[in-house]
Symmetry: C2
Subunit: 412 residues, 2 copies
């Protein structure tokens, strides 16, 4: 048995009960099939009596549930396995992007139980107004899942920009936001979530970071390392090293959209020149394809580009080849620098992967010193456009699982 | 008191004595002034008797020594503080570069006790011949420090190329090496070092990695994060995150020299085009300054460039400004990606820093999204050209300090 990392709260408070709650919850979450109490005792080295008492707490607190009994060979009662509850605490994931708002709810078992996307060009809208609309989406999500017995224990909000530790958005260039105090504006009226000790009510994070976390959790458990590139109006990256998101010194890593592809190229919204975004951002691709000004919402634009490319439209094919080459130049630089063996094309790039992947691979094989010995995998994201909100909600769920005592001790 | 990370060997063997040896050695190494046995007992929570016994072992094994006694206020014997020994085990650092070989020895206290540089253009020389010459340098270093009572307990060799875990140099493009089995060739005759359990006799590593480690150990203790760029004929980087070298999935991180500055630029030795090395490698700078073909050894070339720049030579100034701009474009990309707040100009860049730094800073402020809120420091390396060999020798010393029992148990 591998013990999970000690949940910080549990160790700080030094309580054996908290440790045992987190340990058994971890074993139930990690099991291939619902484990019985006896199997949990064998797995953890705890006594059967301790396991039974802890499981009673987890059942009473709606953190786990008993699976349907499976008939057992031989005599005796059928064994009842334990599974994560799907009617207890849940995480709320939110996203503000340039042309949509999204809210989703993920339950303890990792299932998406609610997902709403509200499409609108948010550039002309004030941050306060955009966040008020998002609070409405959140309230609807909360009411919707409450009917199924779920309680929102925390929220994570994805923003396409630089966020500091207090949730202040320093800069979101494509939204035109500067120094926006998101938590104050978003939770101005009623709080979005129920207070649970150990789970922050609202974490604000960079969209590309949460999308990479979504992709990480959607994949097989383990210590994956990959670069997740999200292509929207802006282009961002999440760097996952050994199963953890790498955030950088101040939490501002991953700004691949501002890697210079041609140092004297077109001026970028960031003030630099020739940034990747000016070649492979969604607006650059649409302009190169002769579709600028079509004013399509992001996912429609992506769908339209994919349809036209599929149909063989030469201008669209050329635009995607050029964007893929620029993306490949930047990605090859990242691979040379960080020695990663997997690149995930996420967000709006996921549906365009059939056309972006070949030029990205071509640049990698031209420019990455080590490509000859160990090929780099380039693949579309599993989650695509929903990754950031799902990743945010999932990050809340992981906090609950790591600190179940906080949930059990919540005021009723 | 902060306990050091458990030394892997000690924990594996589960011996309390090994743990106590490593613990006290760590406290002696970390102390501001030589601690007494009583201070060590208070610091670690061990009994005075245990401390005395362990210190006896450390003294007998020449891992620590007693400092000169300092007179103490009040009655009693003067207290005798303990320091790391400077006549016991030491680390050997070696380097093969394009135009020099180097060997250095660092003692337990971190002092450089021997340093030889042998200048020669090694490109026309076979790997076997180059390594034979290096083995000679190593033998001379060993004999030299043996006279001062030092024993070489392990070696680390820096190579400007991609090295695998077994020490095979897959590719060193500027040396023209491919698949060179360095350990076999280098230690063909007699082994370079005395066998010590827990200390590999020879580690082969990338030059930029070892140079970054050298810089890390030369700075104040702590969890520093920085990008160390070594400018030689090739350009490499070592990425230090939170006080540790980041090596990437296969140990091949840091190839900043092959970050594309202009994707359609000059062809690079790596096969790519417009790599940083083609703009800011030493040969590119010499060519731009009108000094190509002068065929100066690396540090002479650097010294010459610095002298001419100091004297105001316009062609040299222009060449350095252009190289600095290209370096700044690449470094800005890295800072956008990894959110590092310190960039160290190392190797041949260190003496050229007065002229490279301004254009690097200009590109950072133009291109790094977050530069407005948190300025990036760009500074010359402390160690400069010797960093890789010193860093390699230092890495051996750190292994000895983490695993003193291996040294104490060596066959005499």
């Amino acid at each position: 048995m591998t013990r999970p990392d000690a949940p910080p709260g549990a160790v700080r408070q030094g309580s054996l009960r908290e440790w045992n709650l987190a340990l058994l919850l971890d074993r139930i979450a990690a099991a291939d099939r619902p484990p019985s109490r006896a199997e949990l005792a064998a797995d953890t080295g705890l006594t059967r009596a301790t396991v039974s008492a802890v499981v009673e707490d987890l059942l009473a607190g709606r953190l786990v549930a008993e699976a349907e009994p499976t008939p057992r060979a031989g005599a005796g009662r059928p064994s009842r396995g334990l599974v994560l509850a799907t009617d207890g605490p849940a995480g709320l994931g939110l996203e503000v992007n340039v042309d949509y708002l999204a809210a989703c709810v993920v339950d303890l078992a990792g299932r998406v139980r609610h997902h709403t996307v509200h499409r609108a060009d948010l550039r002309p809208v004030s941050p306060a107004e955009a966040l008020a609309r998002l609070a409405d989406l959140a309230a609807r999500a909360r009411a919707d899942v409450a009917r199924e017995g779920l309680t929102l224990a925390g929220a994570a909000l994805a923003v396409p920009g630089l966020v500091d530790a207090a949730g202040l958005v320093r800069l979101a260039p494509n939204l035109g936001w500067r120094n926006v105090p998101v938590p104050a504006l978003l939770a101005e009226g009623t709080p979005l979530t129920t207070h649970v000790d150990g789970v922050p009510p609202l974490v604000v994070d960079n969209e590309a970071n949460l999308a990479a976390l979504g992709e990480l959790h959607a994949g097989p458990a383990g210590r994956a390392s990959f670069l997740h590139v999200s292509g929207e109006v802006g282009v961002g990256a999440g760097i996952v090293l050994d199963g953890s998101l790498f955030r950088g010194t101040r939490g501002w890593s991953g700004e691949i959209g501002h890697l210079p592809v041609r140092p004297d190229g077109p001026t970028c919204r960031c003030g630099g020149r020739g940034c990747l975004e000016t070649y492979a951002g969604q607006e650059a691709i649409l302009a190169a394809a002769g579709l600028a000004g079509a004013d399509l919402p992001a996912d429609t634009a992506t769908t339209r580009l994919a349809e036209l490319a599929e149909a063989g439209d030469p201008a669209v094919r050329r635009a995607l080849a050029e964007a893929g080459t620029a993306l490949g130049v930047a990605v090859a630089g990242v691979v040379n620098l960080l020695d990663l063996d997997t690149v995930v094309l996420g967000g709006g790039y996921a549906p365009l992967a059939p056309w972006l992947r070949p030029p990205v691979l071509a640049e990698i094989s031209r420019r990455v010193l080590t490509a000859a010995w160990s090929p780099v995998t380039v693949r579309p994201a599993t989650l695509g456009a929903t990754a950031a909100a799902v990743g945010g909600a999932g990050s809340v769920v992981r906090r609950i699982l790591a600190h179940p005592a906080g949930w059990l001790a919540r005021p009723s």
